[in-house]
């Protein structure tokens, strides 16, 4: 017994070191965002900077309009997109999980097929821009790529199949429930872990997405926080000389640019870091039943 206790203690230490390693890059960014710019230039990057400063955050607060707006765009897209996506995913998974539906395997095959094949970016791009005219609209950030993920559909389908007994559905049917009522009143309430799991996956995907912006959005009005970060980080010089995009001021030299970029990365991660701990407890349960059984 004492031997296994010692073993536990050793593995706890090792795991703690590994967790710290996994988080280290993120910690470094957080620390750098609080480091005074002059210290960054003089000493380089330290985990224990000599001089702390809130300048970067103060600076963003002052220049906050663009950031606030793109934050708003990101929140809207993430919540709207996730809500619609979860609805579509569960609705697509429902008939696939119902034994009463004859063509369920055919449907499942089609969905699986999309995990391997998709249109590819070229025809998708043409379709969305030419036929649906979503370029430079909020829809461009919501609709392409993330609405229905095949993996999520399969997770939900397996969860419905494995953890909700047929007898329950039959009982509901005997009570005269329609398919829609079964779906809303029986299936969904029992599938909370998997719904939480796919909401987390989808929400993260939407929040972090910048490729839709890259392809479909040129108008600054619809920049998500990620796209704004990309624009600033990839081309900070150009932005400096551009008097319209005034995030970093106009041609000023003594800008806390590095720490500002770090601070932007921090606020880009922040909402997810806050929400994630509340959802993660469902994560393993949702995946266990959805992915591994069946």
């Amino acid at each position: 017994m004492t031997e296994s206790k010692a073993f536990n203690r050793v593995s706890t230490v090792i795991l703690t070191i590994l967790v710290v390693l996994a988080m280290l890059p993120i910690v470094l960014i957080v620390v750098a965002s609080f480091t005074a710019e002059t210290t960054l230039i003089r000493d380089g990057y330290r985990f224990m900077p000599k001089e702390l400063s809130l300048d970067a955050y103060y600076y963003m607060l002052k220049q906050g309009k663009i950031i606030l707006r793109s934050y708003g765009v990101s929140f809207l897209v993430t919540f709207g997109g996730t809500a619609v996506s979860v609805l579509l995913t569960t609705m697509l998974a429902y008939p696939m999980a119902r034994k009463a539906f004859k063509y369920r395997n055919l449907l499942a095959f089609f969905v699986f097929f999309t995990m391997l094949f998709n249109g590819g970016i070229v025809p998708s791009y043409i379709m969305w821009t030419r036929f649906f005219h979503i370029k430079d609209t909020i829809w461009a950030l919501m609709i392409p790529n993330y609405l229905v993920s095949a993996f999520n559909v399969i997770l939900v389908k397996n969860y419905f199949q494995n953890s909700i007994p047929d007898s329950l559905i039959e009982a509901a049917q005997l009570d005269g429930a329609s398919e829609f009522q079964i779906f809303v009143k029986v299936m969904l309430p029992l599938a909370v872990p998997t719904v939480a799991t796919i909401s987390l996956f989808t929400g993260i995907a939407y929040w972090n997405d910048w490729t839709n912006g890259l392809y479909y959005v040129n108008n600054e009005k619809f920049y998500s926080i990620q796209q704004l970060l990309m624009k600033i980080m990839s081309n900070i010089q150009a932005l400096r000389s551009n008097s319209n995009a005034s995030l970093l001021g106009t041609g000023a030299v003594d800008l806390p640019s590095t720490s500002v970029r770090m601070a932007m990365a921090v606020i880009g991660i922040l909402p997810i870091v806050i929400i994630y701990p509340f959802v993660q407890k469902y994560l393993v349960k949702g995946v266990i039943v959805g992915a591994v059984k069946g």
Binding site: T12, T89, F110, T114, G120, E179, I204, L229, V287, V292
Partner: protein
């Protein structure tokens, strides 16, 4: 007959009420572009021109004769191989560790999954910064030559950097799926094995591994398709550089289609990629299934 017909209608009714909206959207997002995309590959369209000429299979031939594409493909194979290997190994070991009954399991799970909640742009930026500044500062201070210059300016090291960052991120994701598999292994079976005098390693090798084949199959499948399609990390971390040495295949397709405006050629490359990924994935699924059945 009438009853059968009624049943059929009802059957399709179940589908129509739920599956139809989603299926229509799915079809428009996936199926239409897919068919449309195949048509594009037989043309010389650049996305703008009004007259579009049919060029037969020229685009496909060019895919295989284009040495930069072939290079990108082999780079991708190397990248995928090491990333799949490393992330599955690390993911599995982490899952083993956090299901072994030690304290603070959920804290560790949360911690290891964290790299996954950070998006491509910020991730690329964080690591860019680490490879270019943090690591070089550290390298210089301890006087190690290969750590004193940025890895991202060296062709081979830049590819290794991509592998490291991808594995760092994907391990936590795969860990969750491995945890899911491991928690399903019956406790009695493990106890029985220990009673019979099996060592920890033997239990993993003979009991746990065979019983989580499903998880393993899913993890390998997911990691293969993800690495072959990897685009955003490639763009945000190295942007194909230095000197196009880290252009992976998905990035190459993007370049061909949107930088060179060769839509037909880019789409032909994309279709070749899909076929390759599909063949590899299906082979993998087939062999893992076979392994499961033989148990």
């Amino acid at each position: 007959m009438a009853k059968d017909f009624g049943k059929k209608i009802k059957n399709i009714g179940i589908f129509a009420g739920f599956g139809l909206p989603a299926t229509v959207i799915w079809a428009s997002v996936v199926l239409i572009p897919f068919i449309y995309g195949i048509w594009i590959t037989f043309t010389d369209w650049n996305g703008l021109a009004i007259d579009i000429n049919y060029v037969g299979v020229k685009n496909y031939l060019e895919v295989f004769t284009d040495s930069t594409f072939v290079t990108a493909f082999f780079k991708t194979v190397i990248y995928a191989f090491f990333t799949v290997l490393a992330s599955n190994l690390v993911g599995f070991l982490l899952a083993l560790a956090v299901t072994s009954g030690i304290k603070g399991q959920s804290f560790f799970r949360t911690g290891f999954f964290t790299p996954n909640i950070i998006g491509g742009i910020i991730l690329g930026y964080i690591w860019n910064f680490i490879f270019s500044y943090a690591l070089t500062t550290f390298g210089k201070s301890i006087g190690v030559e290969w750590m004193s210059t940025s890895w991202l300016t060296h062709p081979t090291r830049a590819l290794i950097a991509l592998i490291i960052v991808s594995s760092w991120q994907m391990s936590g994701y795969l860990m969750v799926i491995y945890i899911a598999g491991l928690t399903n292994v019956p406790k009695e079976l493990l106890e029985a094995a220990y009673v019979d005098g099996a060592s920890g390693f033997q239990v993993v090798r003979r009991v746990k591994l065979p019983l989580i084949k499903n998880s393993t199959a899913i993890c390998i499948f997911l990691s293969i398709s993800r690495t072959f399609m990897s685009f955003d990390m490639n763009l945000s971390l190295t942007a194909g550089g230095p000197y196009k040495s880290t252009e992976l295949i998905a990035y190459k397709i993007y370049q061909t289609a949107f930088t060179s405006m060769e839509f037909g050629k880019g789409q032909a490359q994309a279709i070749v990629l899909f076929v390759i990924v599909a063949v590899i994935s299906l082979l993998q699924v087939y062999f893992t299934r076979k392994g499961v059945d033989e148990q």
